[in-house]
């Protein structure tokens, strides 16, 4: 059964139709990429899947359960996490604290036990800090743990955001343009990190413009244009699809793949 299914998702903003009946599925354990020209509706699709927007029409299902209309934190509790196109770290908190927010779902302490620092809360906090620190080590930012999140470079902030998303222990991780602004070496590192994440059993769905990254790691590609799906399949197939070529290179050009 598909992990994530979208059925006929439609999103209108006033008179603008951002998504026009898009359907697709993501299988467990795969890395799926969504590509398409700017304005094709990719981030809107993400926002719908993770619950920040309620679609005008259509259904999204996670493991067979309908998640359309749920609040983002409810969807997060079902195992969906994400990173943002404009890295959305919490600038007034440290790097470690940012990742710790990712562990929020796995804590039980309420306002009262936190205020009183009850033993269960203290134990829980200690465990959370250990887990968050370990994640920071994995992405190679352990020494930046106490730095303010606002002061890091873009690549580093991306990694912190990834660590934060992984801290929620998601089953499905949505990545919004993870390679944007990264140089070639950083992109290679990213590809390795993402494969590593997938090998841990996390399904990845990402929006990306960087074709080399997409062709490198994606198992399947979904192509959107003007809010409509124009192709879906393995990279080789999508790459030679004439509709896709037309969208990216214009009708007249007929370029041999490579």
């Amino acid at each position: 059964m598909a992990l994530l299914e979208a059925e006929n998702v439609r999103q209108c903003f006033g008179g603008l139709v951002a998504l026009n009946g898009v359907s697709f599925a993501v299988s467990p354990g795969q890395i799926k990429a969504i590509i398409g020209p700017n304005g094709a509706g990719k981030t809107t699709l993400f926002n719908i899947v993770c619950g920040l927007i309620k679609p005008t029409d259509g259904v999204v299902r996670m493991n067979g359960e309908v998640i359309t209309g749920l609040k983002p934190f409810q969807i997060a509790a079902l195992g969906v996490s994400r990173t943002f196109q404009n890295v959305s770290l919490f600038p007034h908190m440290t790097v470690l604290e940012n990742v710790l927010v990712g562990r929020h779902l796995h804590g039980r302490a309420g306002l009262i036990s936190c205020a009183l620092r009850l033993p269960t809360q203290r134990r829980e906090e200690k465990a959370m800090i250990e887990q968050a620190s370990r994640l920071l080590e994995e992405v190679g930012l352990a020494e930046k743990a106490q730095h303010s999140a606002g002061g890091l470079s873009l690549g580093q902030r991306r990694l912190v955001e990834l660590a934060r998303a992984l801290a929620t222990e998601p089953r499905l991780l949505l990545l919004d343009e993870p390679a944007s602004g990264l140089n070639t070496k950083e992109t290679d590192d990213l590809a390795r990190t993402l494969r590593h994440v997938r090998d841990r059993g996390i399904t990845l769905l990402m929006v990306e413009h960087d074709m080399s990254l997409v062709m490198d790691i994606a198992d399947e590609i979904l192509v959107l244009d003007f809010g409509v799906k124009i192709a879906e399949g393995p990279p080789a197939q999508v790459r030679s699809d004439p509709k896709v070529i037309a969208v990216y290179l214009g009708e007249k050009e007929n370029v041999a793949s490579g």
Binding site: P72, A76, M93, V101, H104, T168
Partner: protein
């Protein structure tokens, strides 16, 4: 992450300062200063609660004065309203059997005045305020910035109107003759015999609140709050139940305001409708800003100091203007809060006047 180890030295410093101040004022014969300090400390509790809501969670509330007043008026009303006429009613006798009805002699005509026991009134004051906060907070906290501020202001004005227009609540004069609140051997009351005791009671309560709020802010819930402030969308996407948390914090800050209101009402032996005015609520806002928005200790210290000066009449007829100017000055000059701004200025001063370090390639 375990900054609670850092707090004990600071708490010790607070306690020491409080003791030193009390001893020197008593020695100097200026014990009436203690009264004003006590009042200032209670107001500072309201400010700490608002600091949690505004500084950490980022939600503007102009209704703290109203919550303070609801707490104070509930305590005042229940402990002064004579229920002797209800004797014989089923519910009254039930309450009486539970031991929550107290009696005292009316000074003027020797009749017996039966009221609710102050400790129960205190609990009811806080409960009522929390319930009202939940009812108002639920729809209000869905609103953004300006609109939340307006909604809480509107709520505050409604409460103010009701208080000032209700004869049963004393209308413009408020309620007077409120007895003291005794628990164990301690009494919160305005009698000069217990003045020093009350000074320390107020400080103890304030410091307890400080510790609890500090624990909260450093914990998972505190991080969730600060996350909401920085980016509500990202916080929600990470699993933080943002509407519930905002409402809970709103209720906590209302509860703190009500507690302060009730205790201060017992201390002052009365309360008036001016406590719920927009001026008061704006004042709390100014005090949070002056202490450094997300700075609990700053809120306690700065707020106690400024309110004390205000009560001593230092600002004269410009009292309200001072707080208005503080508001403007903080935002215009020190949006990060005065302490952080001072830190920033000092850094800039250091890098300006120590160019040698820069020339040698050292980090500033």
């Amino acid at each position: 992450m375990n900054t609670t180890t850092r707090i004990w030295p600071r708490l010790a410093a607070f306690a020491a300062a409080a003791i030193v101040i009390q001893l020197s004022l008593s020695a100097a014969g200026k014990v009436y200063y203690l009264t004003q300090l006590t009042m200032a400390v209670y107001y500072a509790i309201v400010v700490m609660g608002l600091s949690l809501l505004m500084g950490y969670a980022g939600q503007v509330s102009l209704g703290q004065g109203a919550f303070f007043a609801i707490g104070g008026y509930t305590s005042a009303f229940l402990t002064t309203h004579n229920m002797a006429g209800y004797r014989g009613a089923v519910w009254f006798d039930l309450l009486d059997k539970c031991g929550v009805i107290v009696s005292r002699k009316n000074l003027y005509d020797d009749t017996l005045v039966l009221t609710v026991a102050p400790w129960l009134a205190f609990i009811m004051a806080i409960l009522l305020t929390v319930v009202i906060a939940a009812v108002i907070g639920y729809p209000s906290l869905r609103l953004r910035g300006h609109y939340l501020a307006m909604a809480t202001l509107g709520f505050g004005l409604i409460i103010h109107c009701i208080l000032i227009g209700s004869p049963a609540l004393g209308a413009a004069d408020g309620i007077t003759g409120v007895p003291g609140l005794s628990v164990g051997g301690l009494a919160v009351s305005g009698k000069s015999a217990v003045r020093v005791q009350n000074y320390y009671i107020a400080w103890a309560v304030a410091i307890a609140v400080l510790v609890l709020l500090r624990n909260l802010v450093e914990s998972r819930m505190g991080r969730a709050l600060r996350a909401i402030h920085d980016s509500e969308a990202a916080a929600s996407a990470m699993g933080v139940n943002t509407p519930k948390l905002k409402l809970e914090v709103f209720m906590v800050s209302a509860a703190l305001a009500a507690m302060a209101g009730s205790l201060l009402t017992h201390y002052n032996e009365g309360i008036g409708p001016s406590e719920s005015s927009a001026f008061k609520s704006v004042r709390y806002l100014a005090l949070v800003a002056a202490g450094g928005m997300a700075n609990l200790e700053g809120a306690l210290v700065v707020s106690t100091l400024l309110v004390f000066l205000s009560l001593r009449g230092w600002f004269g007829t410009y009292d309200n203007a001072v707080f208005g100017i503080i508001l403007i000055a903080i935002v215009a000059l020190a949006p990060q809060g005065p302490f952080r701004q001072l830190g920033l200025w000092m850094n800039r001063y250091r890098s300006l006047y120590k160019p040698g370090k820069e020339a040698r390639g050292g980090a500033s």
